[in-house]
């Protein structure tokens, strides 16, 4: 009897909405359900986009108390990818990311201010090219719950903007290209 009910219980457990107590998550870099993308104006004529292919991170999230959430991300700067080998090589040079000297960029949150509707402002320290500066990410909860493979996930979207000069990048790309916008897609798998 017990054995016959077991599959039912399993189905029921999977179908139930996931309770969401405070939990720790690992950003799904392994499955690449997360991306760190950037875009910058080219001459003021168009947008050039690129991304960092390799990064790791983790966060804690509590649906009931989003202000208690924390996030930290470590980016391998050499993994910059703008789909052009010569440009990527230049981006890794001292003119830009200087990856030999600064192989990692990190973001560590300090404060999360919920703004309702699943939105929040995440303020934290971004360390890039050896310079640590406070930045604020406009974040939004996208969704979460049980995944089809036995895990629990949550996912977020975020955007922020940086001035290149703030991080010691002074290569002149023209007046329209002084700031770079970051778009972050983060999906985390709950640590169990």
């Amino acid at each position: 009897m017990k054995l016959r009910l077991a599959p039912l219980a399993l189905v029921a457990a999977l179908a139930l909405p996931a309770a969401a107590p405070a939990a720790d998550y690992t950003i799904d870099s392994k499955g690449a359900h997360a991306s760190i993308n950037f875009r910058i104006q080219h001459l003021g004529f168009s947008w050039l986009t690129g991304r960092f292919d390799r990064f790791t991170g983790s966060y804690s999230y509590d649906e009931k108390a989003p202000e208690a959430s924390k996030v930290s991300v470590e980016i391998e700067t050499a993994s910059v990818n703008s789909n052009h080998a010569e440009r990527d090589k230049h981006l890794r040079d001292p003119d830009f990311l200087d990856v030999a000297k600064f192989p990692k960029a990190t973001f560590v949150s300090k404060k999360v201010e919920p703004a309702g509707n699943g939105k929040a402002k995440i303020t934290g320290d971004l360390t890039l090219r050896g310079v640590t500066k406070e930045v604020t990410i406009d974040a939004e909860y996208v969704g979460g719950g049980a995944d089809p493979w036995g895990g629990d996930r949550t996912g977020f979207h975020g955007t922020t903007k940086l001035a290149l000069a703030d991080f010691g990048i002074n290569f002149d790309l023209g007046p329209a290209s002084k700031e770079v916008e970051l778009t972050l897609n983060v999906e985390g798998v709950e640590n169990k």
């Binding site: 050499a78 789909n83 052009h84 080998a85 010569e86 990527d88 090589k89 890794r92 002149d172 790309l173």
Partner: protein, 183 residues
Amino acid sequence: MLIRDTSAGYGLVSRLFHWLMALAIFAMFGLGLWMVGLSYYSPYYHSAPSLHKSVGILLLIALALRFGWRLANVRPSDDDLKPFERTASRIVHWGFYPLLLALMVSGYLISTADGRPIEVFGLFSVPSPGENKGLEDTAGAVHTILAYLVILIAAVHAAAAVKHHVIDRGRSLSRMWSGPPTS
């Protein structure tokens, strides 16, 4: 005018290969150093690397032809050199081929690491050997080191030729310039 090499000296083809490639290689070194420092708004930001890549491919073709020509010709005698000088000059002469080959191939691999071909003066293009993410960094480092090494060895080679010409009163520089003595 003598086309082929003889044991007495270099024919026209070898001399043209030697001086034109020497000129091009030194110019490429200067061009390469200069172009990587250009600002984004320089009018040469795209044309200088494009010229460097085009000339580089032509040099690679020239190197292959020159090597074939070398093998197909008699090597002018170096009997007037001291044994040490002879060994050194042979190492340098033959060493230039693999060194230049590696220099040119490494340059080619920088620009083709993302699968893009190299355009040669808009006349034809050399395809990428295949996308190889991140190879541009290794290839770039090798290209820089080899470029300095080639220039260094070329300087030693030139100094040796001048020394041999001025101090030893040898014929090697004259016969590379004007060919074997006509008699």
